[in-house]
């Protein structure tokens, strides 16, 4: 950790206070005490009233019972306090921070500060001024502020930076200083070490831990889906986002990943079980509706991930395959507006839907997949539009009467499989399972199929060939891979999986219209959002598109107030993510391998001889 300019007086000064925090005047011990005290005060003040009137959503007027946003702050306060205790080395809390406590404390304090001050600001703005705050609100704001200040004063190892060149122009010097400041700021939040290896445990204990993790995940998801007003959901985004970052910094996430990797099949089975429990946590069908739409979106995104993430084929018209499946299923569903007066059983409709998409996938792919580069993207983009316009025009006047044009095919009857009517409510173990919950279960089954296909195909000869083609097509061909064939398989497989999801979607939505299958639009299942879900979540991963799809569906759905700015905000978010985390929220297994490979020298060409 030598700096370049150690000769100057200034540099030696800088070197001496290397062990301080971003805020220099607080000694480390005081800072740590401040964090602990502040976080405890935060927790306590969640039991006070924050405002005097119940007009602010969530009714934060009670003493002794935290509600709404208070609950989120409470959780974050507790988290900060626990991390702070762990940083003291208190017995029984050390397991919380296997990768060092300080970074985790800082991020947790930041999370508590963010949620609290968001809440306070929201109260002040919506009620007309800070005067509407009860003492509790002021106290919690103060408490989180001093917690954050204390956390920022915690010492950290400053990354070495290049000193400013005095001969630069002023603007260059300014840029350089800003860059150095940013590096130091990032250094303050950097985790100090990698997580310890988990101690050997009995596998039943490990399974218990995985169950716990999944339960927490289900809880978080259920809470997020169930948020009833904008403020609560925005607070939830801050809480969950920064809170997870804190847990990540603590190293707990790494350990959890180790565990789930060890019991991968079990984790996936557990995750599906947890997802299946979701309807039982709901009292009415309202949020199961959200759940089933999320599942459709996520399933299609996962199918797209085979095409984009594994085989590296940029498909900009993927939603058209969903549309083909949905229309095919709708046409044979016995709907009164379908020109074909047939009513296939569900299994046959699924075959028709997936098969139709498969045919279209091959038709589109066969001529274009021989080409490299951007041609496929252009052709698929065109296909997406062609599909929509063709469906619009086959209404009996502009063309043959097949799809009813812009009216679409309406009144698609509910599914009935083996006498189980998906349209009716059923009572299972005392819980009422409504229509959307029924479809939720069916969609979960479809998603299980897609997950299975994704995993099994990815981990096989054909999956390796996809990745090889993505990495270097020429070399892949020279290894004996029939590039065209392998790409066509990926494309057709992706298309038929989308068609599969489409068959269920047609029944869930009652109606299929051309306007559901746009390239870009405010309502999620469209090509741009699908691609964004894959990229946001992490290409080539299984859980990435699922997380990405959930977020991309929930955010526009919950934040109605954003209205027409929604796409704008979405674009900004995408740019920021690509700038700061280009691998997506969930890094690829292969990228993770890279991060764990500290023992190996990087590949530097040995330049000797010619």
């Amino acid at each position: 950790m030598t700096t370049i300019s150690e000769n100057t007086q200034a540099a030696s000064v800088a070197k001496r206070d290397e062990a301080t925090g971003l805020i220099g005047f607080l000694p480390a011990k005081a800072a740590r005490a401040l964090v602990l005290g502040g976080s405890v005060l935060t927790v306590a003040s969640c039991f006070l009233a924050w405002t005097w009137t119940p007009t602010f959503p969530g009714d934060l007027t009670y003493y002794g019972s935290p509600a709404g946003l208070q609950l989120q702050v409470l959780v974050l306060g507790l988290l900060t306090a626990l991390f702070a205790l762990s940083s003291y080395g208190v017995k029984g809390t050390r397991w919380l921070t296997p990768a060092g406590a300080d970074a985790a404390v800082k991020v947790a304090a930041l999370a508590a500060f963010g949620t609290t001050w968001y809440t306070v600001a929201a109260i002040s703005i919506s009620l007309g001024g800070p005067v509407n705050l009860e003492p509790g609100g002021a106290i919690v704001a103060f408490a989180t502020l001093i917690t954050l200040l204390g956390a920022l004063a915690l010492p950290f190892e400053r990354p070495s930076v290049h000193p400013v060149d005095p001969e630069d122009t002023g603007w260059d010097q300014f840029k350089h200083r800003a860059g150095n400041g940013w590096t130091a700021f990032k250094g303050a939040f950097a985790a100090t070490g990698t997580a310890r290896k988990l101690p050997p445990m009995h596998s039943s204990v490990e399974i218990l831990i995985i169950t716990g993790i999944l339960a927490v995940a289900l809880g978080v998801f259920t809470y997020g889906v169930g948020t009833e007003y904008d403020e609560l959901f925005l607070g939830f985004l801050i809480t969950a986002g920064v809170g997870f970052a804190a847990i990540n910094k603590s190293g707990l996430m790494q350990q959890a990943t180790q565990l789930t990797k060890k019991h991968q099949n079990l984790t996936i089975a557990g995750a599906f079980t947890a997802a299946a429990l979701f309807p039982f946590t709901q009292t009415d069908d309202q949020y199961a509706t959200l759940g089933v739409y999320i599942l459709i979106f996520a399933t299609v995104a996962l199918g797209l991930n085979i095409v984009v993430g594994l085989a590296g084929l940029l498909d900009l018209g993927y939603v058209a395959f969903l549309g083909v499946g949905a229309y095919a299923a709708a046409l044979v569903s016995g709907a009164p507006t379908s020109p074909f007066g047939v009513h296939f059983p569900f299994w046959a409709a699924v075959l028709v839907g997936a098969g139709a998409s498969l045919v279209f996938g091959v038709l589109i792919g066969a001529p274009t997949l021989r080409l490299r580069g951007d041609y496929l993207a252009i052709v698929t983009l065109g296909f997406g539009e062609i599909f929509r316009i063709a469906v619009m025009n086959t209404d009996g006047t502009s063309g043959p009467d097949i799809t009813n044009g812009s009216n679409g095919i309406a009144s698609i009857p509910n599914l009935n499989i083996f006498g189980f009517d998906f349209g009716a409510e059923h009572a299972i173990a005392g819980f009422t399972i409504g229509r959307f919950a029924n479809y939720f279960f069916l969609m979960l089954l479809i998603m299980a199929v897609v997950v299975l296909v994704f995993r099994r195909s990815g981990d096989s000869r054909i999956g390796r060939a996809w990745v090889a083609i993505r990495e270097d097509e020429t070399a892949a061909l020279a290894m004996g891979i029939n590039g065209f064939r392998v790409k066509l398989i990926a494309f057709a497989l992706g298309a038929s999986l989308a068609g599969l999801a489409g068959t269920v979607q047609a029944h869930v939505t009652y109606t299929v219209t051309p306007e559901q299958y746009l390239f870009a639009g405010p309502i999620p299942p469209n090509s741009a959002f699908l691609l964004a879900a894959v990229v946001l979540g992490g290409m080539g991963t299984m859980s990435g598109p699922l997380v990405g799809a959930s977020l991309l569906f929930l955010i526009p759905n919950k934040l109605q107030f954003m209205g027409e700015y929604q796409l704008f905000a979405f674009g900004v978010a995408l740019i920021l993510l690509m700038r700061f985390r280009p691998e997506g929220m969930i890094a690829n297994r292969r990228n993770q391998l890279e991060f764990h490979e500290n023992d190996e020298t990087p590949a530097t060409p040995v330049k000797a001889g010619a």
Binding site: R456, V467, A475, N588, L593
Partner: protein, 348 residues
């Protein structure tokens, strides 16, 4: 770093078996440019054949013709008597594997996965087999993994099987590329500059590796610039200049051939003119004025001293970057333009 033993080793080895590769009259034109002209080359089983030539002589183009990346404009390539199909994956399937001049590994795959990809043609499990995990699937995967691990052991990378390919050091990436090519059980392996950028120790190791590959029963055709390496290694050497084959024969024949020397260095004259560092761009008109530029003392060679005149000392060096710049008549080497003292005399 004398390599006389190696040379002996290489010369006693050839047991000319059946003809593995038979290229007849291969010509490759890109528009008006003829990159490869009427080249004949055979490789027999158990042989290591070298292909040398100055930069731009068409060696890699010829390689690409052999492996189906290019379809030759004229001529045909036979592998074990069969005319090769014109697509590169079918060529690999037939039994010719290759490596690339600039390493083309699958960087974001693990070392083991790279080799498994090389195994692609020798496995037959399709999508359905993978999706349904049909009975043969697990067995085939296990066999492929076992074979891949054997190959990694062969090149000494078994401990790094789970590393990412891009994190390997340069020399190991080269080795991995060879292992990946070997994974397809080829009868002939084409190595495009396997020691480019390697230091002398690594070059020696590569030499051992190539001998070991030959001993596995795989014929080898290798492009290389390192003359010492190539003359130690190869049973036969073919020289390609300006897209045409100049000469083919064992290392001594090739080393002593004046046209080869001329192609690489320029034309010897009786006494060295004192002209220092004559730039060559205006040379084509005048014939062979001065070529023994004073820059060649760096690399004295010990095995190339049979019958060379005074300027043998650099016969094995990096090729002049532009020796063949006139597009015609390379054979009549008496009056071909040649640039003296190509500045790159660093020895490999």
């Amino acid at each position: 770093m004398t390599t006389t033993t190696k040379t002996a080793d290489a010369t006693k080895a050839p047991v000319a078996g059946e003809t593995v590769l038979d290229a007849r009259g291969v010509t490759m034109r890109f528009g008006g440019l003829t990159a490869v002209r009427d080249v004949n080359l055979t490789v027999n089983s158990g042989e290591i054949v070298g292909l040398i030539g100055p930069n731009g002589a068409g060696k890699t183009t010829f390689f690409n013709c052999l492996t189906g990346l290019y379809v030759p404009t004229e001529g045909e390539v036979r592998y074990k008597g069969q005319v090769l199909p014109p697509t590169s994956y079918k060529v690999t399937d037939a039994g010719i594997a290759r490596t690339f001049q600039n390493i083309r590994l699958f960087h974001n795959m693990t070392v083991l996965e790279n080799v498994l990809v090389g195994r692609h043609t020798r496995m037959k499990q399709g999508l359905w087999s993978a999706l349904l995990r049909l009975p043969g699937f697990k067995k085939a995967e296990a066999e492929a993994t076992e074979k891949a691990m054997e190959l990694l052991e062969f090149i000494g990378l078994q401990d790094k099987a789970q590393h990412l390919a891009k994190n390997l050091p340069y020399g190991e990436q080269r080795k991995l590329e060879i292992a990946r090519a070997l994974a397809s059980d080829p009868g002939l392996i084409l190595l495009d500059e396997p020691t480019a950028g390697m230091n002398p120790q690594e070059t020696r190791a590569a030499e051992e590796l190539i001998f070991a590959i030959r001993d596995m029963g795989v014929a080898v055709l290798v492009i290389e610039h390192d003359m010492r390496f190539i003359f130690n290694l190869c049973d036969r050497v073919a020289v390609l200049v300006q897209g045409q084959k100049l000469i083919e024969g064992d290392s001594q024949t090739v080393q002593s051939d004046e046209r080869v020397i001329a192609a690489y260095l320029g034309e010897p004259v009786a006494e060295s003119t004192p002209e220092v560092e004559a730039p060559a761009e205006d040379a084509p008109a005048k014939d062979a004025p001065a070529k023994d530029a004073p820059a060649e003392e760096a690399s004295s060679e010990d095995e190339a001293t049979e019958d060379e005149p005074s300027e043998d000392d650099s016969a094995e060096d990096e090729p002049a970057e532009d020796a063949p710049e006139a597009a015609d008549a390379p054979e009549s080497s008496e009056d071909t333009p040649h640039d003296p003292a190509s500045g790159k005399e660093n020895d490999a």
